[in-house]
């Protein structure tokens, strides 16, 4: 098998705060093959977005990437120079954000913001860039695309803005799209439209996608595999169907029980007891232990490693200690390193 498009190994990103070091991303490892969609799932604050920003090397002070490798097409992005990284950002890896109103600059026209990308990555300039912008907007399903070029973000509806943002993202034919909660700020009908559009883009352009979301419905429809994050660590990774059918980690199982089932009022929604741990004063053992219904004595003593269950399934839980093939290479001890 060829090398994956993106392989993140043992990524660690810390933030200095007044209370101490906060390890927002702790030994995260991910792989995305070409054309594949990986969903990164978890509650707010679990480190999903920081992982994405770390891949893009957009972490700014007081945060910093402490350790790890981000291999993109075999090359470590963390070792790239600033200039090389800029050519990759927006060129080979594009990113879209949650709220399209705050993500588009309110003081520049749609045209200006698309053409800017085309120009900086030397895709097109002048008249050609303009024509390309029209094509892109049309491809994103924006009616009267030529007129829309002159519009400013505040003149567009939420769905329209998200389409413009996607047009900018795919303008330079990236190989990987990182979508950070791309539909969270939209209402349900628009969500469906935008997801359809994302699917279409993916298909037409053979784009690999890292989809960050907390919405398990989106995960099941839209992605090939999913990685579940909890308190800065990946706790489970699996092909989507298997994850949904047979979640291994108690946290994943808990998450799935939080989703209401349509037409099944007999299946109760059961929230996960307790709350997310304080990221600065983490429990010594498994981070989910304080909330885990299946907690064992050992769980409170040491962080469990990621166990490889075969069939591209990984889980960070001692329940599977006996039944696993081997431990994963990334942060095998599960012990947190120093910041």
């Amino acid at each position: 098998m060829a090398a994956p498009l993106l392989e993140v190994r043992d990524l660690n990103t810390c933030f200095s705060t007044y209370r101490g070091q906060l390890r927002a991303v702790d030994g995260v490892g991910l792989t995305i093959e070409r054309g594949e969609t990986l969903a990164l799932v978890g509650e707010s604050g679990c480190g999903k977005s920081v992982t994405a920003l770390s891949i893009m090397r957009l972490i700014r002070r007081p945060g910093r990437i402490v350790r790890g490798e981000v291999l993109f097409a075999g090359e470590d992005l963390l070792r790239k120079s600033g200039g090389e990284m800029r050519r990759i950002r927006g060129g080979r890896i594009a990113m879209v954000f949650q709220d399209p109103l705050s993500t588009l600059n309110p003081t520049f026209s749609v045209e200006n913001q698309i053409v800017e990308s085309l120009r900086i990555h030397r895709v097109a300039r002048g008249k050609e860039a303009r024509e390309r912008s029209v094509q892109l907007l049309e491809a994103m399903g924006i009616p009267a695309a030529r007129e829309r070029l002159r519009s400013y973000p505040h003149e567009l509806s939420g769905g329209m803005r998200q389409r413009v943002m996607l047009a900018i993202a795919v303008s330079c034919e990236p190989e990987l799209l990182i979508a950070d909660e791309p539909t969270t700020a939209l209402d349900v009908t628009l969500q469906a439209q935008i997801l359809d559009l994302l699917g279409q883009i993916k298909e037409e352009r053979g784009l690999a996608t890292l989809l960050i979301t907390h919405d398990l419905g989106i995960v099941s429809q839209f992605s090939d595999r999913a990685a579940v994050m909890y308190a800065g660590q990946v706790v489970e990774e699996a092909p989507v169907a298997e994850l949904m059918e047979d979640p291994l980690h108690p946290y994943t199982a808990g998450l799935l029980r939080c989703v209401p089932r349509l037409g099944r009022p007999d299946v109760p929604i059961r929230p996960i007891e307790g709350s997310v741990p304080d990221m600065i004063a983490l429990p010594p053992g498994c981070r989910f232990a304080p909330r885990c219904p299946e907690v064992m004595e050992h769980c409170r003593e040491a962080v469990p490693p990621l166990y490889d269950r075969g069939g591209r399934r990984m889980v960070r839980c001692y329940i599977y200690r006996q039944r696993s093939f081997r431990q994963s290479g990334a942060n095998p001890t599960g012990r947190p390193g120093a910041c």
Partner: protein
């Protein structure tokens, strides 16, 4: 669109001016001090008849409301009658002779303030609480808290009296006055290609200009800094970086334009303060502009002259606000100018 905007805003000027003129007129007449007494102060023995005659000559014997009506009627045509203290000259000619000096000083101070404040604010915002930011904050605090006249005197002592680098009073070396074109010495010197005159005028502007610019630069710098910090945390700045734009474009294009929107109004207000603040600075530096003229006119109870100068201040304030609104609309497409 812009035509309508301008027309509307200029019409709005009318009630403002009526209000201002009324207040100016009234306060001058309510303040103690009789202009006729001022005029005749040194004239020795004068009869009541002579006083009444002068009063009638200047129309001061008419009822206040009539005087006001006459004042407004004339002011509309740019006439303010004869000056009480500059004998034999009209207020208009006195003001016209001084206006260029004040314009020159104000523009000079404005340019200094902006040229320092905006880059300093931007650089400070890039690393909040970093070394540059801390230094700039201390500088801004000094700039805001030092009174202009005091800063003026300190500058005079250091650069004028101790070092003899810069002149401490006047507009220009009187032997070097360039040929009259606009009355603005630096501009006239440039237009007539008169290097020594330009240099001399510039040197005379330096100290009063810096003294006037300091508080404005400080305020604008702080404003640019804080709005830049806010803007740099916005998603669209992150998105601009994610597009692969170099940091100079991210900061200079995407962030700065947004940060300037709230700054424009402050700049307009501060420029208005530059204009009115020039009374003190022009007096300290013996700079022959409108401010010094106004101070002298108040001392001499020269009603028409004071009224004219204050009206000019008021009009320029209103015009500056108009410019600010226009700039605001130009920077921010969300603002409707009509």
């Amino acid at each position: 669109m812009w035509g309508r905007f301008l027309r509307q805003r200029l019409l709005q000027l009318i009630p403002v001016l009526i209000g201002v003129s009324f207040i100016v007129f009234l306060t001058m007449h309510l303040t103690p001090g009789d202009p006729i007494e001022h005029m005749l102060g040194q004239a020795g023995r004068i009869t009541q008849e002579q006083i009444d005659e002068l009063r009638a000559h200047y129309g001061l014997d008419r009822p206040l409301i009539v005087q006001y009506g006459l004042f407004v009627g004339n002011a509309v045509r740019g006439e303010f009658g004869p000056s009480y203290s500059h004998h034999g000259r009209t207020v208009r000619s006195v003001v016209a002779a001084r206006l260029p000096a004040t314009l020159e000083l104000t523009v000079f101070a404005f340019v200094i303030a902006i040229v320092f404040a905006i880059p300093a604010g931007v650089i400070a915002s890039l690393r909040p609480h970093g070394l540059f930011d801390r230094l700039a904050t201390v500088g801004a605090l000094l700039g805001i808290s030092m009174p202009g006249f005091w800063l003026g005197i300190v500058l005079m002592i250091i650069f004028g009296l101790q070092r003899h680098w810069l002149p401490i009073s006047g507009r220009i070396d009187l032997a070097l006055v360039p040929d009259y074109v606009t009355g603005i010495h630096t501009l006239d010197a440039l237009l007539t290609a008169n290097g020594p005159a330009f240099w001399s005028a510039l040197k005379h502007l330096a100290l009063p200009g810096v003294a006037m610019a300091a508080p404005m630069a400080a305020m604008v710098m702080r404003m640019v800094r804080s709005s830049m910090i806010g803007v740099l945390a916005q998603d669209y700045v992150q998105f601009a970086r994610a597009k692969g734009l170099p940091e100079t474009t991210v900061v200079g294009k995407h962030a700065l334009r947004n940060a300037l929107i709230p700054t424009v109004n402050l700049v307009a207000l501060q420029t208005g303060l530059l204009l009115s603040g020039n009374m003190i600075i022009e007096t300290v530096f013996q700079f022959p502009g409108l401010g010094k003229l106004a101070v002298d006119a108040i001392a001499a109870a020269d009603y028409p002259l004071v009224q004219a100068v204050v009206l000019i201040y008021a009009v320029s304030y209103v015009l500056l606000n108009l410019v600010a609104d226009a700039l605001h609309a130009a920077l921010d497409p969300r603002v409707q100018i009509a």
